[in-house]
């Protein structure tokens, strides 16, 4: 009965209802698209940097992170691997041996990071084999793959030989000549300028060590939380190991996201204020307009609480229609742009491609299709519509039917 009356009220004044619905719809539409684009960008950022290099969780020997030295490396045995794999959510794991060295060819020398990797295991976690510009990812003993930036710096072609020179394990000197068997584009300028890859056995030989590793990269199964995995690993492993998530190993990514997201939250907040006041305006007008009607209803015996119920349901229905419209229309849009990411480079014109890549981002910006974006924002709008209906409630409770019916 109440529902019926509420619906009739909405239907009666079509123009007023339409204005309210449109204002809710427009604001929510903008908020959802903006957040979807932002979160899509963050996901892409995490994917390009975290998934392509650092891994969601890393395990090192304790003290390695603060003093990245081969003497802080670890010997990985099967029981350690089993311990890590026993944690729920852990997918593939891979070992790496990383060390700093000088790279030299002819008269040129630059610094670089040598990555000893396990070729077959690495392909389960990273997509490096798909990022090769030239040459092969399946390198043999004492052969190397170099980042695009290094290849450009030395102007190297395949089968040219680079000299690596640095500090080895336990006071040994590390030096050797290595033929280049491939060039890789890691889609990140810093990694491209520093990365040198060889098999982990060759790297151990280079630094004159036994079976050591500096990193264990832990990949998570989809939808598992890396923080929880890190916590569980902390429980399982002894104090000799340190466990870090990408938020700790790559704090700049986390900070970029936090700062950018804060801007998004402020924008959303401004839009909310506009919506809420728009809704409040309509409700205010409606209450004033319908004072006479309310007066009549109360004087013929309708309880004030029931009357308030009608108003409440009206507001809820109006905001629900706006919210559903917004979700219904934004979903196909976000879905489309999730599959066909917006290419910022073509939007910004020529040369932008390189510029964006130099900043360390990928120019492709997909939209996020995660449901929690539209749902959280819809919930906010819904709750504010409930709060707004407090105003007519107060008005109705104080309404004097005789006075209100005097024109």
């Amino acid at each position: 009965m109440i529902l019926k009356i509420a619906w009739r009220n909405i239907y009666r004044n079509k123009k007023r209802s339409l204005i309210t619905i449109t204002s809710i719809f427009a604001a929510l539409f903008l908020i959802i698209l903006m957040r979807a684009l932002q979160f899509g960008f963050y996901d892409k950022l995490i994917e390009t940097v975290v998934e392509s290099y650092a891994g969601y969780v890393e395990v090192h020997a304790d003290g390695f992170w603060d003093n990245q030295n081969l003497d802080n490396s670890m010997e990985v045995d099967q029981s350690l691997i089993n311990d890590i794999k026993s944690v729920e959510g852990v997918d593939n794991i891979v070992q790496r041996l990383q060390t700093f060295s000088l790279i030299s060819m002819g008269n040129k020398t630059k610094g670089g990071v040598i990555n000893g990797i396990n070729i077959s295991d690495e392909q389960k976690i990273t997509d490096w084999n798909k990022k090769m510009i030239s040459g092969t990812f399946k390198i043999g003993k004492n052969e190397i793959i170099i980042g695009k930036g290094i290849a450009e710096y030395f102007d190297v072609r395949e089968n040219d030989t680079l000299i690596l020179y640095g500090q080895g394990y336990r006071g040994m000197m590390a030096a050797g000549k290595y033929p280049v068997k491939g060039v890789i584009d890691l889609k990140n300028p810093n990694l491209n300028k520093l990365g040198v890859f060889m098999t982990i056995e060759s790297a151990r030989n280079y630094v004159s060590s036994n079976e050591i590793s500096t990193h264990i990269i832990v990949d998570k199964k989809q939808y598992y939380d890396e923080e929880k995995i890190a916590n569980d690993l902390n429980q399982v492993l002894s104090k000799d190991y340190e466990i870090m998530t990408w938020k700790e190993t790559l704090p700049e990514i986390e900070q970029t996201i936090t700062a950018d997201s804060a801007g998004g939250v402020i924008m959303a907040f401004i839009l909310y204020i506009i919506v809420v006041f728009g809704m409040f305006g309509t409700v205010l007008m409606m209450t004033e307009e319908r004072k006479y009607e309310f007066g009549v209803l109360i004087s013929i015996g309708m309880s004030r609480i029931r009357l308030f119920g009608i108003i409440l349901i009206e507001t809820v229905i109006l905001s629900m229609i706006g919210v559903f419209l917004a979700i219904l229309i934004t979903y196909p849009i976000t879905y489309y742009y999730n599959l066909n990411p917006i290419d910022m480079a073509t939007l910004m014109g020529e040369g932008a491609d390189q510029m964006i890549e130099e900043m360390g981002f990928s120019p492709l910006m997909p939209m996020s299709i995660e449901w929690d974006i539209p749902l959280t924002h819809a919930l906010v709008i819904f709750i504010s519509s409930l709060l707004i209906s407090i105003y007519p409630a107060i008005k109705i409770s104080k309404l004097n039917p005789v006075k209100s019916m005097k024109i």
Binding site: D71, S104, Y165, Q167, R170, G171, M172, M173, A175, S208
Partner: protein, 247 residues
């Protein structure tokens, strides 16, 4: 008047004393380096809290300015040569067949993983010319009577230390102990010499222990097996392009 004489005497004795200190240091340096040249074979042990590394080396030197050494073991580093020519340090690495002149940025790095820096190898300063030396006492170390000498660097001297203290024995002018202090008068390194042996008629400590005090559990031990003085050394030994032939 008497006061003045006493003052003059005191002043005189002080200056004699200080010249003495310079003399002592000169004699002891000459003893180590030889008047002309020296040749040595040694074992260098790097001690770290968790591990130890041993290297054997040969070294030749002429005066203060020329020094070259070649690694004999471990096998992986065999043939690695370090050459000091006046202020330059050159490094030959056999596995890459390259001779590298160490850039200034690498001078403060450790020399072959030991506690010495490349800069220590060059040692542009001379303990007799760049320091003001005074005998500040006499002590015994391992039953040997020693002069305790304080070395304060002169203002324009190319020295990183704030002060050095050296113990030199009175009989054989052996440098038995050296303490290195920084500008804030905190002790940074200690060098102890022991196990005195007879090298070609000269009594010299065969083992030198270098201990950096800031790093607990770290030290470098140099043990001389052979030490010969004033032999003829081919000049080519100190040419950068000859380094790859040294063995």
């Amino acid at each position: 008047m008497r006061k003045l004489i006493i003052f003059l005497l005191f002043f005189l004795s002080f200056s004699i004393y200080s010249q003495d200190a310079n003399n002592i240091l000169k004699q002891s340096e000459e003893k180590i380096r030889g008047v002309k040249s020296s040749y040595t074979e040694m074992i260098i042990t790097v001690v770290r809290p968790k591990w130890k590394k041993e290297m054997t080396m040969k070294g030749w030197s002429v005066g203060e300015d020329y020094f070259t050494s070649v690694v004999l073991s471990p096998a992986k580093e065999k043939g690695t040569v370090f050459l000091k020519r006046e202020n330059e340090v050159w490094n030959y690495v056999p596995s890459i067949e390259r001779t590298i002149k160490l850039p200034p940025s690498m001078m403060m790095q450790n020399w072959m993983g030991t506690d010495f820096t490349n800069d220590d190898l060059v040692q542009r300063s001379s303990i007799t010319d760049d320091y003001t030396n005074t005998i500040i006492g006499e002590e015994t170390i391992d039953d040997l009577d020693c002069w305790k000498i304080q070395l304060i660097p002169k203002e324009d001297a190319p020295v990183v230390w704030g002060k050095l203290l050296m113990w030199i024995d009175k009989q054989d002018y052996m440098q038995l102990k050296t303490q290195f202090f920084d500008e804030y008068d905190d002790m940074v390194n200690v060098m102890n010499s022991k196990t005195i042996k007879n090298f070609g008629g000269k009594k010299l400590p065969s083992v030198i222990e270098f201990v950096p005090l800031e790093k607990e559990g770290n030290k470098t031990i140099v043990e001389r097996l052979i030490w010969k003085f004033d032999i003829d050394i081919n000049e080519r030994f100190f040419m950068p392009n000859y380094m790859k032939n040294l063995r």
